[in-house]
């Protein structure tokens, strides 16, 4: 009875992907006809042999290569920050607990309930030239740098929006580590760091990896935060795709970018699949 879900996935995910892949390779007939009539700078395939014209356009474009680099760097930095913060909060809750631990883990989840658009505006305002931070520093006679419209606010915004989900995943993973294991390690004379690095984190490894992959894929494809708070150039590929699609009216190039992001995300997704497989194996399902 697996048929209906498979039909659904094939129809609404697989088919559009194939259509887009065909379009990016210059197959502009059939369902791709209209978009190729409206779009500018569309490369058309000669007969059955595909054209890589749109790919070529982008990979010689310094702007695209720069934006690709920025996207990868923002993803790496933000993901690292999110995982470190989430693990830190989870560990504090596990070992100290108490009111502060609860407040920390509670606060970390708050961004989940604030729409990203609103949050982006708030972050932009907070770090802007006439923002809160600079005003406070100015009271003390200090000059705080202006971070609005820079990659710094994009990273702060990405961490802000990704932290709640990662914290939920990592915290629950860490909570699931049996206290008996920790006590046993301590009895054997292990220091706090030894317990963390050799027992707790490895045992919660799978949830942490899953949180990492989700966070990385989310940030890789983000649009709202870099669109509102980032500079005009260089910016992340999510913003570029939207620009190419509407402002520059070059849908084919936008689709090519989507495939570049798709390939990077597939690499991250492979890690996710591996982690899931490992956890299934541990629980004896495979």
């Amino acid at each position: 009875m697996a048929l209906p879900p498979i039909v659904l996935i094939a129809l609404f995910i697989g088919f559009p992907i194939l259509l887009a892949l065909g379009f990016s390779l210059g197959f502009t007939g059939g369902l791709n006809h209209t978009i190729s009539v409206i779009g500018q700078n569309v490369h058309e395939a000669q007969g059955a042999s595909p054209t890589f014209g749109a790919y070529g356009d982008l990979f010689v474009d310094r702007r695209f290569l720069g934006d690709l680099g920025v996207t990868v760097i923002v993803t790496l930095v933000s993901t690292t920050a999110v995982v470190v913060l989430a693990t830190g909060i989870g560990l504090y809750l596990k070992f100290r607990g108490g009111v502060l631990g609860k407040i920390l883990s509670g606060l970390a989840v708050v961004p989940l309930f604030i729409p990203v658009v609103i949050a982006s505006w708030a972050i932009l305002g907070f770090y802007s030239a006439d923002g809160f931070l600079r005003s406070v520093f100015a009271l003390a006679g200090l000059e705080f740098p202006v971070w609005s419209f820079s990659m710094v606010t994009v990273i702060i915004g990405s961490v802000w929006t990704s932290l709640p989900f990662a914290t939920l995943l990592v915290t629950s993973g860490l909570q699931a580590v049996p206290q008996a294991m920790i006590d046993a390690a301590r009895d054997a004379g292990a220091s706090f760091w030894r317990v963390v690095t050799s027992v707790v984190v490895p045992m919660a490894g799978v949830p942490i990896i899953i949180a990492t992959t989700f966070t990385a894929i989310g940030i890789l494809g983000s649009f709202t935060v870099p669109y509102f708070t980032g500079p005009n150039s260089p910016n992340m590929l999510g913003v570029d795709m939207s620009n190419y699609f509407s402002a520059f009216n070059q849908p084919q190039q936008a689709v090519v970018m989507a495939f570049v992001v798709f390939i990077i995300a597939s690499g991250i997704a492979a890690v996710y699949v591996w982690a899931n497989f490992r956890s299934a194996k541990e629980s004896g399902a495979v």
Binding site: L3, V7, L8, T34, P231, N232, S233, A247, F248
Partner: protein
């Protein structure tokens, strides 16, 4: 077993079809077939609330009053956020020869839809007032675009700190360099006021005959004339707000100006007037048109989908909107520019345009040329 499988598939497809229709923007369904339907004009607006008010409160009721039995239904897509979907819907409806759910559309994509043959071609035999509109304005809208109102970009400045604003483009460029960090414009891709500033600087170096071609057709080879202008714009990077910050959208520029973070910026005439009236822009901020060259301005176009079932009623409404009384409403309500010659309007409204000539706006570039401008600006100016 086979039967259950088939049933499951059908149910799944039906469910998703339902879900998809649920996701689609709510649209007005045709009232009914027959006589009643042909007298209802479904107007689709992709724009701001001022345009919505114009249609819902003034143009629509006036039309219904003047033509008993006719009805006007207005649907709004605020800020044109779903323009891509609306255009796709129009395209698929024309390809499938089905009603597109609207009979008259006011949206930025009208010239584009006209190029793709999605709109009913119009000329002065169909819409009589078109003959009195400047030929270039009509041509820029394509065969299916009906120009019905206009607006232009002005230079807004804070009169507290700038008693005498620049009068020409050269003066403005000199002012920007003399006052670092006090000027910016939104990226041309994100809004018309920024793209008008960019086009105006580029035009300083574009020969008049080349420019003429670039406003009425997709003359890609003439874009080489832009090189000098882009170099000039790149040179401004270090003098604009925060050494090269170009906000996203007309509104963000206005916000920076209202909050005093910058003291000068290009703005849309109608958006600016509305902002001053409702208090979101301080009254100390004034606006002025520069010259030599002036900022561009252009028309907003109405389009009639090629396969609308209510063609006659839509044509009737488009004709109605271009009459002097309705054009006067546009001037009064949204501070817009009339599409028809100024001397056809009431005398008291004519004086409103003492400093600007709404019939002689410097046209923006042709739609596709404008897209290339967005792209090239993005490559050549910010962060370089």
């Amino acid at each position: 077993m086979k039967l259950t499988n088939a049933l499951g598939v059908t149910a799944a497809i039906a469910a998703t079809a339902l879900a998809l229709t649920g996701c689609a923007q709510s649209s007005t369904s045709p009232a009914s077939t027959g006589d009643a339907a042909t007298k209802t004009v479904r107007v689709f607006i992709s724009g701001d609330t001022n345009i919505q008010n114009l249609w819902e409160k003034d143009l629509g009721p006036a039309f219904e009053k003047a033509n008993p039995g006719y009805k006007v239904q207005v649907t709004i897509d605020l800020h044109g956020e779903h323009d891509a979907q609306t255009l796709a819907k129009l395209t698929s409806s024309v390809e499938q020869k089905k009603s597109p759910d609207f009979d008259l559309v006011d949206a930025g994509f009208v010239p584009k839809a006209s190029t793709a043959n999605l709109l009913t071609p119009v000329d002065s035999t169909k819409i009589s007032a078109i003959s009195s509109v400047s030929a270039d304005v009509v041509k820029a809208g394509g065969t299916g675009g009906i120009p019905y109102r206009g607006s232009s970009v002005l230079l807004a400045y804070d009169s507290k700190s700038i008693p005498t604003p620049p009068k020409t483009l050269d003066d403005l460029l000199a002012w920007i360099k003399a006052n670092p960090g006090k000027f910016t414009y939104n990226s041309p891709k994100s809004g018309g006021s920024g793209s008008s500033f960019v086009a105006t600087v580029l035009d300083k170096y574009v020969p008049a005959d080349a420019r003429q071609k670039m406003t009425t057709s997709y003359a890609k080879d003439l874009e080489s004339n832009w090189d000098q202008g882009f170099a000039e714009l790149k040179g401004l990077n270090q003098y604009v707000y925060q050494k090269g910050v170009y906000p996203n959208g007309n509104q963000q520029t206005l916000d920076l100006l209202s909050k005093g973070q910058i003291t000068m910026a290009p703005v849309w005439s109608d958006q600016f007037t509305t902002g001053v009236t409702n208090g979101s822009i301080p009254s100390t901020i004034k606006s002025v048109q520069i010259s030599n060259p002036s900022f561009t301005g252009g028309a907003a176009y109405l389009g009639i989908p090629a396969n609308t079932p209510n063609m006659d009623a839509a044509v009737k409404l488009a004709n109605f909107v271009l009459q002097p009384e309705q054009q006067a409403m546009i001037v009064k309500d949204i501070s817009g520019y009339p599409a028809i010659p100024l001397n056809q309007l009431p005398a008291d409204l004519q004086t409103k345009f003492a400093s600007a000539d709404p019939n002689n706006l410097r046209l923006p570039y042709f739609d596709q040329v404008g897209k290339d401008l967005n792209n090239q600006w993005d490559q050549k100016v910010p962060g370089q």
